[in-house]
């Protein structure tokens, strides 16, 4: 188990790696990656039982990055865990790289589902949770969705199924940053309130500050103890967290910084250009 201070240090390094990957590739999605970094850090370092040794196996807890555009965060976490070489982050989005723009489960150890098309991950997570029950193991399945992503109807089909099949070995997380691509979620189509919708589908709902390490850890711990129904963590986050000009700014959803802005971004995170 890492202490909160250690987790914060790891998360900061992950954020630096997100900016470096996206800047080198001159493409990718910094905002939604920075915003879910604290959640992923807790998940991979203090919650899931994934290690470099069992990364290619399914005999462990698994994670579905349903909002697959946050791949730079996942790759940086896998590098921080020693599951993929840190050097490899330099190949992000380049020809012949394992680190595809959106995650490919057959290329990268530790990537448990190929994603990128929004709305599909929760269904796959349900399938994994059902398989775990059939196999009689007590591994847990985690699935991170975006608050824009839950506008997809398939999410709610899956929400209904997860409750119907009593998938208490499943824990969903919705990264609520109030932004999607065309603007704020409220402006575009209004998916809010998301927690009460899951509650209406029969889920156990825990709402937290997605950057507060104690709240994140407590939520995952509580989810493990809830029996008979799936749990969803509604995590309120700041898109672009950690980089001043990206925070809460829809422009940085899917755009890479260039020139001086790379310096500013790294400086915000206490790092320099390589």
């Amino acid at each position: 188990m890492k202490t909160v201070e250690e987790l914060k240090q790891i998360a900061n390094d992950v954020r630096i790696d997100i900016i470096r990957q996206v800047s080198r590739a001159q493409s990718g999605h910094p905002g939604g990656s920075l915003g879910c970094t604290d959640i992923l850090t807790v998940l991979y370092f203090n919650v899931m039982d994934i290690t470099p040794e069992n990364a290619v196996s399914i005999d462990r807890d698994r994670f579905v990055l349903s909002k697959g555009h946050a791949s730079p965060a996942l790759y940086a976490i896998l590098a921080a865990k020693g599951i993929i070489p840190h050097e490899e982050l330099k190949t992000f989005r380049q020809l012949d790289s394992r680190l595809q723009g959106h995650p490919n489960m057959n290329m990268v150890p530790g990537v448990d589902m190929s994603t990128g098309s929004l709305g599909q991950g929760l269904s796959a997570a349900n399938g994994m949770a059902l398989a775990n029950r059939l196999d009689g193991n007590d591994h847990r399945i985690y699935c991170l969705m975006g608050d824009g992503e839950v506008e997809e109807g398939q999410i709610w089909e899956a929400a209904m199924a997860a409750h119907h099949y009593k998938l208490d070995n499943l824990c969903g997380i919705v990264d609520v940053n109030n932004l999607q691509i065309d603007g704020t979620t409220d402006h575009v189509i209004g998916p809010n309130p998301i927690g009460p919708k899951f509650a209406a589908f029969g889920w156990n709902v825990i709402e937290i500050d997605g950057h507060d390490y104690n709240e994140i850890q407590n939520a995952f711990a509580e989810a493990k103890t809830v029996k008979g129904v799936p749990t969803v963590i509604i995590a309120n986050t700041v898109k672009g967290k950690g980089v001043s000009f990206m925070e809460n700014n829809v422009d940085w959803h899917g755009k890479a910084p260039s020139g001086d802005l790379i310096k500013v971004a790294l400086n915000d995170l206490g790092a320099q250009e390589e």
């Binding site: 990128g116 999607q180 065309d182 189509i189």
Partner: protein
């Protein structure tokens, strides 16, 4: 000039919504990327961002069309045709509703986003729906001609658009009938039927081959369906070896369409240039088009290897 066909789509649609109060525009959280927001800016009351909910967008477009409107619905080609395929078939095409689906970021030239976003099956799945029309313009001017044309018909259709900038092939306002094939360069013996940004690649290959004394014919096929069968047969008759070039799986796209016309009316050897039934990967548009043999050099190499 180099412009992306998606930009031209937005520009032309913005013009049309001002002229015709019965046009409505829908998008699925990609209005900036597809440029449909340009129409949304000038007619906000007839612009509906449906959020990240493509199936709902198509169904809603169907309802608007069933109420007398001409509905233009756009998002990335993958999510415009793949996610809501069955809604398109059963709620739009079967009831013959006036919905124009525009899929931008088609093909591998969407680039770094990778396979999940690279629609190389969209022509195939749209083509297999009975009566569905498909237009794949080569440049900005042809895109505007397509938008103008489909706005005047009552047919459901799919318009295939790209993310990357493409050099102009046509002069704006001077595009011949888009329902017919266009012979852009007349050569001998060898003809290339190309669609979308592959038209430019084919024209580049032609320049390279000309230097070696090989004079090929280059044909722009914007109307994939219904096909200009008479025009295609005319080209087949006058050439011995045929190539097709598309930024799409070689299965069930332009190459298959040309082959179907050929086996029925005028058998020829046909070599299909495209993705050889393989997924691509992440990389910049230029790097990918080169790596997968779809730039001018790739078309040149493909032709050289068969003559």
């Amino acid at each position: 000039m180099a412009r992306a066909t998606r930009e031209a789509y937005g520009e032309e649609l913005a013009k049309l919504v001002q002229e015709d109060p019965k046009i409505v525009v829908l998008d699925a959280d990609l209005a900036g990327s597809t440029h449909s927001i340009k129409a949304g800016k000038v007619a906000p009351e007839r612009f509906f961002d449906m959020g990240i909910a493509e199936a709902d967008m198509i169904g809603t477009a169907a309802g608007l069309a069933a109420s007398g409107y001409t509905a233009f619905a756009s998002t990335f080609a993958m999510f415009a045709t793949g996610r809501p395929w069955e809604q398109i078939r059963n709620s739009v095409v079967y009831p013959h509703l006036n919905v124009k689906i525009a899929g931008s970021h088609a093909g591998i030239s969407v680039g770094e986003d990778g396979v999940s976003h690279q629609a190389i099956e969209d022509i195939a799945i749209m083509r297999s729906i009975p009566t569905m029309e498909i237009y794949c313009p080569a440049d900005a001017a042809e895109t505007k001609a397509v938008v103008d044309y489909v706005a005047k018909t009552t047919e459901p259709c799919y318009i295939r658009l790209g993310r990357a900038k493409v050099e102009d092939v046509y002069e704006e306002g001077n595009v011949p009938d888009i329902t017919k094939i266009h012979v852009l360069a007349q050569g001998q013996k060898i003809a290339v039927f190309a669609t979308g940004l592959m038209v430019k690649s084919a024209l580049e290959a032609r320049e390279m081959l000309l230097k070696e004394g090989v004079d090929i014919t280059v044909v722009d096929v914007c109307a994939i369906k219904p096909a200009d069968e008479a025009g295609i047969v005319e080209v087949l008759k006058n050439h011995d070896v045929i190539f097709t070039a598309e930024e799409h799986n070689i299965i069930n796209g332009l190459g298959s369409m040309i082959a179907e016309v050929s086996v029925t009316y005028c058998p020829r050897f046909i070599h299909r240039i495209g993705l050889p039934d393989t997924f691509a990967e992440s990389g910049s548009a230029a790097v990918l088009l080169h790596a997968y043999g779809l730039d001018g050099e790739g078309v040149y190499n493909a032709i050289k290897s068969h003559i």
